[in-house]
Symmetry: C2
Subunit: 480 residues, 2 copies
Amino acid sequence: MSYASTESLDVFFKAKSIAIYGASASQNSVGQAIIQNFIKPQYTGKVYAVNPKYNQVLGVPCYPTLQAIEEPVDLVVVAVPARITPRVFDDIAAKGAKAAIIISGGFSETGYAGTELEEEVVAISKKHGIRVIGPNCVGIVDTHSHIDTFFLPEYRCGRPRPSNVANISLVSQSGAFAAAISDWTAELGLGISKLISLGNKCDVDDDDLLWYLAKDPTTQVICYYTEGYDELKGRTFFDTAKNVTPHKPVLVVKSGRGQRARAAASSHTGSLAGSDNIADSAYRQSGIIRVNNFEHMFDMAKALAMQPPAKGDRVLMITNGGGLGVMTTDALEALGLVIPSPSKELEEKFNERLPSYCAIGNPIDVVGDTDSSRYDAVFEEAIKSGEYDIFVVGMLLQTPSLNMDITNVISNHQRQSGLPFVVVSMGGGFTTKAGEIMELMGVPTYATGEKAALAAKGLAKYGEIKYREKFNKTFGSDKP
Amino acid sequence: MSYASTESLDVFFKAKSIAIYGASASQNSVGQAIIQNFIKPQYTGKVYAVNPKYNQVLGVPCYPTLQAIEEPVDLVVVAVPARITPRVFDDIAAKGAKAAIIISGGFSETGYAGTELEEEVVAISKKHGIRVIGPNCVGIVDTHSHIDTFFLPEYRCGRPRPSNVANISLVSQSGAFAAAISDWTAELGLGISKLISLGNKCDVDDDDLLWYLAKDPTTQVICYYTEGYDELKGRTFFDTAKNVTPHKPVLVVKSGRGQRARAAASSHTGSLAGSDNIADSAYRQSGIIRVNNFEHMFDMAKALAMQPPAKGDRVLMITNGGGLGVMTTDALEALGLVIPSPSKELEEKFNERLPSYCAIGNPIDVVGDTDSSRYDAVFEEAIKSGEYDIFVVGMLLQTPSLNMDITNVISNHQRQSGLPFVVVSMGGGFTTKAGEIMELMGVPTYATGEKAALAAKGLAKYGEIKYREKFNKTFGSDKP
């Protein structure tokens, strides 16, 4: 699919009128749960139910067919048994709707008969230009338009919110993970724009969404969970990624590193996990950053969404706790980042401005009785020196000598310098709140040195991807 | 120090009367902050202040010297400038108190003059049989006796609580980390018995506390944060550990793996981080489990505190989400655990009792529409088969078909089988609460497959340490 034709996906996220096919008045049914998500006040579009059995479902007007609805319908959510979906798609085609999400299972994931049904639906859709997400998925959550086809009740499965600073969108092959991630990111307070569960990918696939999310102004970082690619679609995806990654960071969690897990993935979704090494090198060549798990993904994505990429890998660590300095430096070094000692000149500047009992070096320890002024002095001199590309700031708030003005000192220096900053602040209640404030001011904050180091690594790695590409364009090289 | 003489440490954690030397009425002083921790209603012993300037401090009676106090004093907390501590210790000796915690800095960590002062204090203490923690530390928090010398206000630095199930004690070289861990574990709700910050270790050291905590009935797992050992004390510590680890798990975070971090550690505490490989092999030989960071430590310690060690490394993973099964299996395999497929016989049993669309294997996927009964069937058959040593249970609660009775099913099978269980439950609000309930029922619960896998690894590893030792004893071998 081409960059231009991603417009056909717009309707999934911006539909002004949505019909729920298979909406049901019977309690605890999927058909009722989905409609419940649409009668929330946040979604401002029109909602229709389709089911010959009812005149209304939970107060939503119900029609026997789509064609019986007088107004136009943008998006159809299909929650009927697999065997009747071809008839439903005839109705969709007749109505002229251009997009459908098939929530129902019972298609290609179940064997031969299901595959035939799926192919029938695809044939109708192709003929009439209907784009399809699914089947066998939970659909999408768009935190801006409030389109939400996840049929799980909010008390069990929280929905994330968009942040004012920067947002992440995530595409998941697995519906259960899409739901768990919705719930988890809601709890974490991570800014999310779109969650998309792809299921069997009978039409819309990873590649389509990569184009779409690359153009989406509300998405700053694109994340994927995948268990594997089929060979042809995989190749297209990696070609697209080469064009996207210099402009927007793309992260992926791909499971199935081990043998056992690969066997499990194959029985779970039928996808061929293939050689993990091949995937690894495809990711590298296309500028996609592969991470080991969702925690790493969220930690890196947060930094990439909030901070500029680094133009090099020279890190300065500043801390008010010696142990935190040592642990974080360990983690930074293990990730291959460079932690250069300050030059003679810079060391002299630090010595002039800090008390003699501070430990000057890298990490630089402004010790436990510090207030924000020592941080201020270190940032000022270190930024002026040009000796560092990334700042990792240890901020232990258990000691009351460090007031909340430290957050202003950090964010001011970050903004004025344009260099990436990452904060590590270990602790509980007060510390957590302070971290939330730090992030509202645009600087990502982590509970451990390892997480902060990973964030710094992400900023350095994406810098390499972004600026390597620029370099290549300027000098006409097409080497990876 | 011998096992018997650990009794002299009892008074640090059980003192019935405590004097704060250097207690101060001036706001924001350490001397005031410490006394503030003792006038909380939870500590039921007697508290005295010592300072010739006042008659009372925050309502606590204040005396010019210890000797002026009529009642006996068990423990003296010293928060006076370093240079006057020898005089203070003369007073402690004259009063006959047997334990002191020196919070103040300005001793051996600052150079030659400080070292002389420290030696003077040690000489007085040795002569009069006074045990000393510190100097240059934040002292201790005992969550049972409520002795709390951390001088940091609770709104900044939360204090953990003991759990009714099982508790961890932690010894930290770094005071800032001890404080941050207090705050963090309070937030996590991890059951803690004792936190001890050792500072310069002029008398009480890692080895003393290893003996003491080994005997402590309120400590189920012993944790350390260290930046290095001096050669002589290190050797004694590892000898002690050989005797302790078959009875109680010991975990350590040792920083300074990398070169840069090692340099930083040396300037921070003056300890020689030494060769990290030597430390690694000493840990292995003495049965101490080394982990990379505090998150890993807390994850493993929680499992070891709550669950019996595993008698082998054969794991069964059961899940209601295919993706979670794949991710967790990946993590288990990466940690070297064995994930055997069920035998033909067991597979038949599973087939009889589960719907045909469940994926039987390892992981075994009881799929998204499950209630607790499929878990029940799998546990029953798998336990009866004797084919597995550890159960890792994926419990995705976003879907309302899985009710809270799953927690009873899990904890009942765990208790009746005596086999170790670990739960992984990804998500937000509801999921977090359910995890807390699961843990009140004694089964450790984690937010990601990687954390659960690490917990399983800890249970297998400690089983190896515990049962290897038993084997050695029986057969008279003393090989590591």
